[in-house]
């Protein structure tokens, strides 16, 4: 590997302020440093044991440690220029203890056994200080120790091993295609994440995991100076739990139609060409007439509606009130679950939670409290059947095995309940997008995600999108603009009028889903096939200032 090629542009640190810094403790590194091993499993085991032993000796009834090395790489460009290349590493240890039935947590990036033991003692002191303010003592679901095990994301190409120059060349080519096709401005980005996580607990688990994520993205802007109007079109890519192979386009992963969409591989150059054309079309597109429409939602759009309305409402910590001060609670309740009759949606609607789907952002071998990951039903034939839970919550559901939903964004943040992949299951009958559209009299076909907002109990939502196509009497007749739809979650999922079959199933996802205080970021995928919803309220969002 050529060192100059590898780190080419790395040092454009002056532009790095434009880029996410990867957390309080993240520090910029040379991209080659990312390929060095920080510590082997045996070294990490010794450090983990130092923490576990100290915590136990100070009175903890349970302790877990996470030694984490979190690598981020961002390559960002605009037009003919590299805006910045940022490589960050965050390395340290987080120690969580249970003392007198109350949690305490402390973290450090000083990785000597002495500092780690001192940090464990701090975690115990914090738990003790808080124990006087605790409610019911924490009840942990039993968890077997797995001994020394490991899990590796099944990637083909480690994005951190791909020279920076190759990424820069691709992005500058993307920008060039956009400008050649009439864009006024274009920004493009490749983000890569590698989480090297070592978990150990007093249950006897020592779990070494290697997790990869990638997100290629762009935004094309078209401007009409005379009218003062501007429009943008973002990429139809998705962040994925994959390596750089996501960017090696394959014909079998392309979904043709009014615009090409993508499955497990993404063609960035093809998409940006379409985007430049779309942005110009959007400026001239007809402004939508407000009213009721049947919506046909592409998976590149629907993932976000699933995420907000189903994913967040079925988080048990929200249901129980633990997020009341920030993200909010949920319109769902234990009563609604226990009734066994709560119609979240109609009988077409089946939603699963899953931490195992290959290529998804949520896929991992074990969660951040050492629970082996799995798949389970949240909504079955329209009925609410379960929530998402962690070890200290699952007893509330009458279950004695955690769902494996514990996650922390870094070693320096405490782990808590985070969303697994939550996906709408495709229809069982064969159904294509064309067949779905052909019966729609007055509708809008929406592709790509846009503006999104939902209330703190997940009833009322409003979504925009990237591309809106008017459907009239079963045919796409042109592009619309200024579209947003508003609905109530339960009414919306009960208006589901058809789901395409598995051949149309695709993942979308959130690279940085926020929750918790201090706020933490989680990456999660949502699969679906194109789905129709009848009679949804559409508003016109155009205003003049």
């Amino acid at each position: 590997m050529n060192r100059k090629d590898f780190i080419y542009y790395t040092a454009m640190g002056m532009g790095a302020s434009l880029l996410p810094n990867g957390g309080l403790f993240a520090r910029p590194i040379d991209p080659l440093e990312a390929l060095n091993e920080r510590a082997d499993a045996q070294t990490k085991k010794a450090l983990a044991d130092a923490a576990l032993n100290e915590a136990k000796s100070k009175g903890a009834t349970y302790a877990d440690v996470r030694i984490g090395r979190y690598l981020n790489q961002f390559v960002a460009t605009r037009e003919k220029r590299v805006q910045g290349v940022s490589n960050t590493e965050s390395y340290g240890i987080g120690i969580r203890v249970l003392v007198d039935g109350c949690w305490g947590f402390a973290a450090t990036n000083k990785m000597t056994k002495e500092d780690i033991a001192q940090t464990a003692a701090t975690a115990v002191a914090i738990a003790r200080a808080n124990a006087k303010l605790q409610g019911a003592p924490v009840i942990l679901a039993p968890q077997q120790g797995f001994g020394e095990v490991s899990w590796q994301a099944p990637i083909e190409v480690n994005a951190f091993e791909v020279p920076i120059k190759e990424k820069v060349d691709l992005l500058l080519q993307v920008n060039d295609v956009a400008m050649q096709n009439g864009a006024n401005f274009v920004n493009s980005l490749i983000a890569a994440v590698n989480e090297q996580k070592y978990f150990a607990s007093t249950d006897g688990s020592y779990i070494d995991q290697d997790i990869h994520r990638i997100y290629p993205n762009f935004n094309v802007t078209a401007i009409d100076r005379a009218s003062g109007k501007f429009q943008t079109r973002g990429a139809l890519s998705s962040p994925m739990g994959m390596g750089y192979e996501y960017l090696n386009a394959r014909p079998e992963d392309k979904v043709s139609g009014v615009v090409t969409r993508y499955k497990h591989r993404y063609d960035m150059l093809e998409d940006v060409q379409a985007a430049a054309r779309n942005a110009a079309e959007k400026i001239k597109a007809k402004s939508v007439e407000p009213g009721k429409y049947d919506l046909v939602l592409d998976p590149s759009h629907l993932w976000l509606t699933i995420h907000e309305s189903v994913g967040h409402s079925t988080e048990l910590d929200r249901v129980l009130g633990y997020e009341a001060n920030y993200a909010g609670t949920s319109f769902l309740s234990l009563d609604k679950l226990e009734s066994g009759t709560f119609n979240f949606g109609n009988e077409l609607v089946n939603v699963t939670a899953d931490k195992t789907e290959t290529g998804s952002l949520g896929a991992v071998g074990y969660d951040d409290e050492g629970v082996k990951c799995k798949k389970w039903d949240l909504i079955k034939n329209g009925i609410l059947v379960n929530f998402q839970a962690t070890r200290d919550q699952v007893h509330i559901l009458g279950e004695n095995e955690s769902h494996g939903c514990s996650y922390s964004q870094g070693w320096d943040d405490v782990q808590f309940q985070r969303m697994p992949n939550v996906s709408l299951q495709p229809g069982k009958e064969k159904l294509s997008v064309d067949e779905l559209i052909k019966d729609v009299e007055r509708g809008i076909y929406i592709i790509g995600d846009g503006s999104f907002s939902i209330d703190q109990q997940r009833y009322n939502f409003q979504f925009g999108g990237q591309l809106f196509y008017e459907i009239s009497n079963g045919k796409i007749v042109g592009m619309l603009n200024d579209v947003a739809y508003q609905a109530n979650t339960q009414e919306f999922w009960n208006s589901c009028a058809g789901i395409c079959d598995a051949s149309d199933y695709r993942l979308g996802g959130a690279f940085n889903d926020g929750k918790g205080q201090p706020s933490q970021s989680n990456a999660v995928s949502h699969g679906s096939a194109t789905t129709r919803f009848n009679g949804v309220n559409v508003i016109n969002t155009a205003r003049n200032i």
């Binding site: 100076r225 009341a324 001060n325 209330d455 009322n460 155009a542 205003r543």
Partner: protein, 438 residues
């Protein structure tokens, strides 16, 4: 260790620059100590603490820049990080937007650091939360809240003689108090540099009152209403405005500050003439660092005067392109108000909606800065000068630019989070649908 004094920071940075052989070199240090406690259902749920310090070095040859960082501070580590940044700089292509480093600057003093805030420990945090829980428990309500305090410092020095140092403290508190049956909810939040200004007991009482008063909300039709926005609700919306005061995106034609036909809205009457917006890092109620990451001094800056746009932010690069002086972007927005109290404003309202706060606010259209979101934690109907009854939450679709053209009255300015704004009475605020959320 994480919070260095000015002299300690200066000593390390001087040593670092001594190792430099590049045309230009800049070294910066930052450190922080943070602690927090989170509670829900009237009990602590999580708590934590963390500390860190990192040194970053940028070396420059011509327009070739290299950066590296380290979190070890022995002499060998300091030397190594300089060498690594120089190696990276030599291997890099030129950055066409690179601007030479600034020479020595003079910075104002700002009271950003308060010893008493820095001295908060886990026991003090637990006591502050206990005061909040007293309120909820005594009234048979349920509290969920978050208390977070931090101390930090930043220092930078370059080979042209610039040195800047700032240390600061912050304490932030928010609490949601709900009725046990979930039919009422109230909220307050604020941030201060000085913990003696934070009263978790008094704030919790406000949230508790809102929780009780919001029980039994009626639904009223969405539409255009006169609204009275409490300072928190105002800050939720107007804090979006200054992000658009960027000259480059305005000149490029892709911001609400761009003018039809080209150019920017600088000098235009964009708001009601009662609207003034400025930033001032030395304001004693909202102090912040007096220098930015480039080392540019931050001064009191007027962005809007009598509704007219007076300044846009220019990066050093964009300023050079446009032949103007650089103007650092503003932080810590201040909108001066009038003398009316919230109660006065309610008394003077025939028919309107009182809003405690907004939630889940997202941009819908950057062209008009149209935002959507919802009311939350206390929304009330006002009739004939008095609060009549709580109402169900609304979704709004409104632009803060349009809103600041529809001003009826401005109350007394106060700190709300990291800005200072008055409560506002606004005409024709657009609510587009109802929400069942409480």
């Amino acid at each position: 260790m994480a919070i260095l004094s000015k002299e300690e920071a200066q000593a390390i940075l001087t040593k670092v620059l001594g190792f430099s052989t590049a045309d230009e070199c800049e070294a910066s240090l930052r450190g922080a100590e943070e602690g927090n406690i989170r509670y829900a259902n009237n009990a602590v749920s999580t708590a934590g603490a963390a500390s860190t310090m990192v040194l970053s070095v940028s070396s420059v040859y011509g327009k070739k820049v290299g950066s590296a960082s380290v979190n070890e501070f022995d002499e060998a580590s300091l030397k190594k990080v300089v060498e690594r940044s120089e190696e990276l700089a030599r291997l890099s292509p030129e950055n066409p937007e690179y601007m030479p480093m600034l020479g020595p600057q003079t910075y104002d003093e700002s009271p950003t650091y308060v010893e008493k805030t820095a001295a908060i420990d886990p026991a003090i945090r637990a006591n502050m939360v206990a005061e909040s829980l007293e309120v909820s428990k005594a009234e048979n309500l349920e509290a969920a809240g978050f208390l977070d305090n931090s101390s930090g410092f930043r220092a930078m020095m370059n080979s042209k003689g610039l040195f800047a140092y700032n240390k600061s403290t912050d304490v932030s508190f928010s609490v949601t108090i709900r009725t046990p049956d979930g039919t009422g909810s109230g909220y307050t939040s604020n941030s201060f540099n000085d913990v003696s200004k934070l009263d978790t007991l008094a704030m919790s009482k406000v949230a508790a009152a809102k929780a009780k008063n919001s029980v039994g909300a009626n639904a009223i039709e969405p539409g255009k209403y006169t609204v009275i926005l409490e300072p928190l609700a105002v800050s939720d919306l107007v804090s979006w405005i200054l992000r658009g005061f960027d000259a480059r995106s305005a000149d490029e034609g892709r911001s609400f500050m761009s003018k039809r036909g080209g150019g920017t809205r600088l000098g235009e009457q964009l708001f009601d003439e009662r609207i003034n917006i400025y930033t001032d890092p030395t304001n004693p109620d909202l102090p912040s660092a007096t220098w930015d990451s480039d080392g540019l001094p931050l001064k009191k800056t007027t962005w809007v005067e009598n509704g007219v746009v007076k300044n846009l932010a220019y990066s050093r690069y964009w300023a050079a392109q446009q032949g103007v002086d650089p103007m650092p972007s503003g932080r810590g927005m201040i909108i001066p108000g009038g003398s009316s109290s919230l109660e006065d404003m309610i008394r003077g309202t025939e028919r309107g909606v009182l809003v405690t706060r907004f939630w889940y606010i997202r941009s819908v259209d950057p062209q008009s800065l149209l935002l959507t979101g919802l009311t939350r934690d206390g929304t009330f109907y006002i009739e004939n000068g008095a609060i009549k009854f709580p109402i169900k939450n609304f979704r709004f679709n409104e632009s803060p630019i349009i809103m600041l053209n529809n001003v009826d009255d401005l109350g007394k300015t106060e700190r709300s989070g990291n800005i200072m704004v008055p409560p506002m009475k606004i005409r024709d605020f657009t609510f587009t649908s109802l929400s069942d959320a409480i």
